[in-house]
């Protein structure tokens, strides 16, 4: 498996290279001069020209691209056009915020989705099955934007259980160490802030988890139904083994492979959903960072941000593929 792993890791390089090329040209195809956008509606023509020149945006595209790639190879992600801050230094807090949010969302989606799928399959055509599948259908079709605002309205304003937005209480801010606040608050031993961090996570992560949760539930259900038809499961059931034993000991091992693929894909897609979730819940994550950057035509931030997300996506897929082999010994990679 080692050669396979190495091959897969090496493959990442051309993929990222291609990605950088595509992103580089796509964002330049959008109309709108960054200098004009940054200086605003009220800027003079001279100011725009001066800034365009300073940013090197009047150079030919291939010069700009070569400079950009050269920087990347030296580990330089460039500087934000808008704020002038080096992206490599600036990006981690945003990335950490999104990672924390997505991880929690994914954990919620997997735990609830997989279990709902299993129960639905086991009690196929029961009321639970119907309700779960209707909810899953709703979950897939629910706009995150609307769901987020409804969550805020219900759980924050009407019930007063949870905060509406942000990662922390601004009047009692968390001191960042790793920028993963659950970890930071534990490291500093501040339990009160740890609860605070969790409370802030609940609504956005549930909003973000909805779609993957629904998809995972449906996938698990159909996959489980398939497996449960097989002889060895029927035998197991006939022997009078408990549901827990049959499902978690025998069926899930085989049913989980396609579910794992879905989980991998959904984790990647989560980053897309994160933009909306982060806007509604003013979560200072990478989705919003890139979204704002698009509004300002902040080319370096868009390029480097998307590249990092692509790298994460590729990395997750790699892990999923390797997990197949770990879970199912029949799968061999050469």
């Amino acid at each position: 498996m080692l050669p396979y792993t190495v091959k897969r890791v090496l493959m990442i390089i051309p993929v990222l290279f291609g990605m950088s090329l595509v992103v580089f040209f796509m964002i330049r195809a959008i109309p709108g001069n960054p200098a004009q956008v940054i200086l605003g509606q009220k800027a003079t023509k001279e100011a725009v020209a001066a800034l365009t020149h300073k940013l090197g945006l009047d150079e030919p595209w291939y010069v700009q691209y070569v400079k950009y790639i050269g920087g990347l190879l030296r580990g330089d992600l460039g500087e934000s056009i808008r704020t002038g801050a080096p992206i490599a230094e600036e990006i981690w807090p945003y990335l950490a915020a999104t990672i924390e949010l997505s991880l929690v969302a994914m954990i919620i989606a997997v735990i609830i989705g997989v279990n709902a799928g299993i129960i639905s399959a086991w009690f196929q055509n029961s009321w639970f099955d119907y309700i779960a599948m209707v909810l899953a259908l709703l979950g897939v079709s629910m706009p995150i934007f609307w769901l987020g605002l409804m969550e805020q309205w219900l759980f924050s304003i009407q019930l007063d259980w949870l905060p509406t937005s942000g990662r922390e209480d601004v009047r009692n801010p968390i001191e960042p160490i790793t920028h993963l606040y659950l970890i930071d608050t534990l490291l500093s031993g501040n339990t009160e802030q740890f609860w605070q961090a969790i409370q802030h996570l609940v609504l956005p992560s549930v909003a973000l988890a909805t779609i993957p949760m629904a998809i995972i539930a449906r996938m698990t259900r159909s996959s489980m139904l398939e497996v449960m038809k097989s002889d060895y499961i029927r035998t197991a059931r006939a022997k009078g083994l408990s549901m827990f034993w049959v499902v978690y000991k025998h069926s899930l091992k085989n049913a989980i492979i396609p579910v794992l693929t879905v989980i991998g894909l959904q984790t990647g897609l989560l980053l897309g959903g994160a933009i909306l979730t982060e806007t509604i819940f003013s979560w200072p994550g990478i989705g919003r960072y890139i979204y704002d950057a698009i509004g300002y035509r902040d080319y370096p931030v868009i390029q480097s941000g998307i590249l990092i997300i692509a790298a994460i996506f590729i990395f997750i897929n790699l892990i999923v593929d390797l997990l197949y082999a770990a879970i199912d010994p029949r799968i061999k990679y050469n």
């Binding site: 709108g32 003079t44 605002l149 304003i157 609940v202 819940f281």
Partner: protein
């Protein structure tokens, strides 16, 4: 059996999440009581976006300036409700007969937040710094003072310290709005020591003499300012801390206000007004209007080249209906390209009434008895002067349809929208403008002069008579004569009709009921010196 471990893990996590959620709930209800101490001294101000830089001279965006306004002071400041000037760091001033020499007496005993003395040298240092810059480094300086040090058009000949607390500005030619310009937030006086110490990074370490001291900035999240205990205005500021937080979505921001996470919110949707008005815990703040929303009629495109057509379209729009439907009544119909609060406003102008018959008649006269087809561009982003571009465009589309003009609604992402407008690609389009310094020049010249084509004159309207008037008005220092010229200018604009002026809106803010001393300023930048909680 790693699979078993995996599931044990998941089960534990699930349990943990449930426990957390449960605990969190009881914790929250316990915490919300202590969140509201009897005498609150921290103000959390919720807004839509983050600042770009906290060096006010380097930026043009309102989000940056509304923060720096509290860290820095200017020589002169605007009065509470308009843009007339009052003393700030300068206590008094004299203007020479010829309007070329301005002498300011400075406030004594003031120190910058880093302990540096504020004096005439500091003022000279700041103006020298800007004058030696360029359009890229200090954009506002060039546009307000006619360029930079070596430019022919640069208004300021020299700035000199006569003694420690007297500073003199010598101009090359009179500039009527000079005092108003000096009072703009970008021309706030920064600590020379700090500027030299931080260099390019000054925008992240702002040091001024203002009521609040910069403490912390977490980008896209919050900016924290703390009370300046040695502030020169006796007994102020009242607050101990001001925190600016960014919550991009208007509805989410309202939710945060209702939940008590923020104390004041900007940009309340007019449609949400009722929700807050009926609630005793909150109050509405109305920002005096200094804006205009309009339909631009690109004067170089198709039928819109014809003045009669543009006039006809002016007759066809029912402004009051738009105000009732989309501004919750919080706007007044516009008849001029600038709001009535600006000196030089021509109130004698009679607006085009909503008159479809007259409109049809004019179209027929212009040779379009059966109307024509155009594109109507809708703004993709909400602005205080334009809460919902798409819906307002639909209303106007329906109005136009009644006189046979078929408008197709088009929209682009904001930066693209402005880019295409600047190239003159739109027929008719929605847009607006918020004034910077309360001067007529900042509306009429910036938006409708032929010099501004390619920047903010998106209608490509070019009129030599208007141009001569506006340029003349720029150099006259006699207020009355100037205002006469602006009144004439508005007559020409009314007649030529390059715009359908729609409304002057009243931007709405909402805040806790016990907030006192907060008076939203027309410029959009507020000083929190006198704000307190009852």
């Amino acid at each position: 059996m790693r699979r078993n471990k995996w599931f044990t893990w998941l089960a534990m996590l699930l349990a943990a999440v449930l426990v957390f959620a449960g605990c969190g709930k009881s914790k929250e209800s316990a915490g919300s009581g202590s969140d509201k101490p009897s005498a609150q001294d921290t103000l959390v101000y919720g807004r839509g976006g983050d600042s770009v830089s906290l060096d006010p001279a380097t930026v043009t965006d309102g989000e940056s300036l509304k923060v720096t306004k509290n860290i820095f002071d200017t020589l002169l400041d605007y009065n509470d409700n308009d843009t007339s000037v009052k003393p700030a760091l300068a206590t008094e001033w004299t203007i020479s007969e010829d309007g070329l020499t301005y002498t300011f007496k400075l406030r004594q005993g003031v120190k910058f937040h880093d302990g540096t003395d504020f004096n005439a040298e500091a003022v000279v240092f700041n103006f020298e710094r800007w004058a030696n810059g360029n359009a890229d480094t200090f954009p506002y300086y060039g546009s307000m003072f006619g360029g930079y040090k070596n430019d022919e058009s640069h208004v300021i000949k020299e700035v000199k310290a006569l003694d420690d607390y007297t500073v003199q500005f010598v101009l090359k030619r009179p500039q009527a709005p000079f005092l108003k310009n000096i009072a703009m937030p970008p021309f706030a006086i920064a600590s020379p020591t700090a500027v030299e110490k931080y260099g390019d990074k000054f925008g992240e370490h702002p040091v001024g003499t203002g009521p609040f001291v910069f403490k912390e900035w977490k980008r896209n999240e919050r900016i924290v300012l703390e009370k300046n205990k040695d502030y020169w205005e006796e007994g102020y500021p009242k607050l101990n801390q001001v925190i600016f937080v960014s919550i991009p979505d208007n509805s989410a921001r309202l939710n945060a206000l209702l939940k008590g996470e923020i104390d004041i919110m900007e940009d309340l949707n007019p449609t949400d007004l009722k929700q807050v008005e009926g609630n005793k815990e909150f109050q509405i703040f109305k920002r005096p209007s200094m804006n205009v929303a309009y339909v631009g009629l690109t004067a170089t495109r198709g039928p819109l080249k014809n003045k009669l057509v543009r006039q006809a379209l002016n007759y066809a729009v029912d402004k009051q209906a738009i105000i009732d439907a989309f501004y919750a009544g919080q706007a007044e119909p516009a008849k001029n390209p600038m709001p009535p609060s600006i000196p030089g406003y021509n109130d004698a102008i009679q607006d085009y009434p909503f008159d479809l018959e007259k409109a049809k008649q004019l179209l027929a006269e212009a040779g379009y008895p059966n109307g024509f087809e155009i594109e109507l561009w809708a703004m993709p982003v909400p602005r205080p002067y334009m809460p919902d571009g798409q819906k307002i465009a639909e209303a106007i589309q329906a109005n136009f349809a009644k006189i046979g003009v078929k408008a197709k609604i088009v929209s682009y992402e904001w930066a693209t929208y402005l880019d295409k407008l600047a190239k003159g690609e739109a027929d008719a389009f929605l847009l607006g403008w918020t004034g910077d310094n309360g001067d007529a020049d900042n509306f009429l010249y910036a938006l409708l002069d032929k010099d501004s084509i390619g920047s903010n004159n998106y209608t490509y309207f070019s009129n030599d008579e208007l141009h001569n008037i506006l340029v003349e008005a720029q150099t006259i220092s006699d207020e009355n004569k100037r205002n006469e010229l602006y009144k004439q200018a508005q007559e020409i604009i009314k007649e030529e009709a390059p715009w359908i002026p729609l409304v002057h809106s009243t931007p709405l803010l909402a805040g806790k009921a016990n907030i006192q001393g907060f008076h939203p300023h027309p410029t959009g930048s507020d000083k929190f010196t006198k704000v307190e909680f009852k």
